[in-house]
């Protein structure tokens, strides 16, 4: 009995596939888990960022369009396979990048993303505490620069507090999650009610953007859509490992369209309307102004608390993944020390580049350059090349014996396609300068990047992979692959 439990725990950690009978979540459980993940303070930040480019009417449209595209593509790329086979997401990625290639993708997609979000949310915590202190002292919160000393000290404190919580283990994180998600929904409803008590819906819809970067409204609208596709695709590193806990492929996929899509859209719309109505995209500023001192103090205190929870969630998830994909050297590092090592870069970012908070949407859009290409490769590889069939033995075999060993554990085709997708993205749209090619107005940047990476992977794999003996791709649609690991 105890041995069975150990095996199940090992499978839950990603060492092996979870069996259908071990899966925990049905449709509504997964929907709730998804919604709890999406209902976080970053929804307010993204909604506020949308308000910089477009007014509420176009903003709501951009939020819906961007999120549906991002979430559907990401769910197809990650949830269908992990939901069917119960495999850990970065183990699944071995079928398209090789074991070492999967490690590289982990560092690029998860580590960088988590480090950036830890810094942004830490700074948001700092702003909340700064605003809270000002309100309690009877002052008025103004749009203070992110470089303020108090903000930076509080942000560092938030990161260190996150380290302390995560180092203690997952129990406290689960407890906080159960409180924060429903409370954030209540906060959003209250905020929405306060906004609508001051402005009618038609007044809100007639408002303009806060700081549009271009005179051309279409360009601003497409940038707003792109920010939201990036938000939808930013779930790429996390969704697969949640989906593998669901009872079936269908349960792994559909709840994303209710939980992630629905919750993110709700949170972002509240952030957008509040930002435009109160004239500031920073949630820690408009929350302090929206409903007087008492509401401001409660809202800011809660946002500070919710930020710590979100930070603990992403740090914990990333560390679990890191131990899974890491080498023996990484696994040998103690949990507390590994947590602390992960926190060093966010601390440095907070101290030396606090401006990352104000321009956080640029960081978010950069991540989409990678996530969109990864999604394109994932869909092309799993649905088209492998016809939805994975060799579980090859996924879990050592690189030298595995049919998914490719070249020294790297699939050069997959990694080249990733580089192609990334290059297409930045040549269509530069997230830093917002410069864009004419095609951006018709296609956005994530969609061509996703298509380019997928088609490149498809074409090169069909042309070369079988000839080189890489990846055990089936010879014809629906054909069984024969791999060294399978045939042993």
């Amino acid at each position: 009995m105890s041995e069975n439990r150990d095996y199940r725990l090992a499978a839950e950690r990603g060492d092996g596939p979870l069996l259908p009978s071990e899966r925990l979540w049905g449709f509504w459980e997964f929907t709730y888990a998804n919604a709890a993940l999406a209902i976080a303070t970053w929804a307010f930040l993204i909604g506020g960022a949308v308000g910089l480019f477009v007014g509420p009417k176009e903003g709501i449209a951009a939020i819906v369009i961007g999120n549906i595209i991002g979430v559907v593509i990401t769910a197809l790329a990650t949830c269908v396979a992990t939901g069917r086979y119960g495999v850990e997401q970065f183990v699944f990625l071995r079928s398209m990048f090789g074991a070492n290639g999967s490690r590289l993708v982990y560092v690029l997609a998860v580590v960088f993303l988590t480090l950036g979000w830890l810094a942004v949310l830490g700074l948001m915590f700092g702003h909340s505490i700064d605003g809270l202190q000002t309100l309690m002292a009877g002052g008025e919160v103004s749009a203070a620069p992110a470089t303020g000393g108090k903000v930076i000290v509080a942000a560092c404190g938030a990161i260190l507090l996150t380290w302390f919580i995560v180092a203690k283990g997952p129990t406290s994180i689960k407890f906080f999650n159960m409180i924060v998600a429903p409370a954030l929904v209540v906060l959003m409803v209250v905020m929405m009610a306060l906004i609508l008590s001051k402005h009618s819906f038609s007044e809100l819809m007639a408002m303009g953007p806060l700081d549009p970067p271009f005179d051309n409204k279409t360009v601003n609208f497409i940038i707003a859509i792109e920010v939201n596709i990036a938000a939808g695709m930013s779930w790429w590193p996390y969704l697969g490992n949640l989906a593998r806990l669901t009872k079936s492929e269908r349960v792994a996929t559909w709840p994303n369209l209710i939980g992630i899509f629905g919750a993110a859209v709700l949170g972002e719309i509240v952030g957008l309307l509040a930002a435009v109505a109160l004239g500031n995209s920073d949630p820690t500023i408009w929350m302090a102004q929206i409903g007087g001192i008492l509401v401001g103090i409660v809202a800011l205190a809660f946002v500070a608390f919710a930020n710590i929870t979100s930070m603990a969630n992403i740090l914990y998830t990333s560390l679990i993944g890191l131990r899974q994909v890491g080498t023996a050297g990484v696994r040998a590092i103690g949990w507390e020390l590994l947590c602390f090592l992960f926190c060093i870069v966010p601390l440095l970012l907070v101290i030396f580049t606090p401006g990352v908070y104000d321009g956080f949407f640029k960081f978010l859009v950069w991540t989409s350059a990678l996530n969109s290409a990864l999604a394109g490769i994932g869909i092309a590889d799993y649905f088209v090349l492998r016809r939805q069939r994975l060799d579980l033995r090859a996924l879990h075999a050592p690189t030298t014996d595995s049919a998914y060993g490719f070249w020294r554990g790297f699939n050069p085709i997959g990694l080249f396609s990733l580089a192609v997708g990334f290059s297409v993205y930045v040549s269509v749209f530069n997230p830093l300068s917002l410069a864009h090619a004419p095609a951006f107005l018709y296609l956005t940047a994530s969609i061509p990047s996703c298509l380019a990476a997928g088609l490149c992977h498809l074409g090169l794999t069909r042309a070369f992979a079988r000839r080189l003996g890489w990846g055990a791709y089936p010879a014809r649609p629906g054909g069984r692959s024969v791999s060294p690991a399978t045939s042993r």
């Binding site: 092996g16 449209a61 369209l257």
Partner: protein, 54 residues
């Protein structure tokens, strides 16, 4: 992982899925209706807001 007991357990788990694959016993598998519905939903949520603002 070099643990022989875990290797046996892993093999057992893999065989469960191979059995399901051999018999086609995939309950809750996404079918063409699911994919069609997902595509339709995406089109509705993309074109609907687009038409609303234009």
């Amino acid at each position: 992982m070099e643990d022989p007991a875990w290797e046996r357990e892993l093999e057992r788990r893999i065989r469960v899925y191979e059995q399901m694959e051999a018999t086609g016993d995939w309950s809750g598998r996404l079918g063409s209706i699911d994919y069609f519905a997902m595509a339709a939903l995406t089109v509705v949520f993309t074109l609907g807001p687009w038409i609303w603002v234009h």
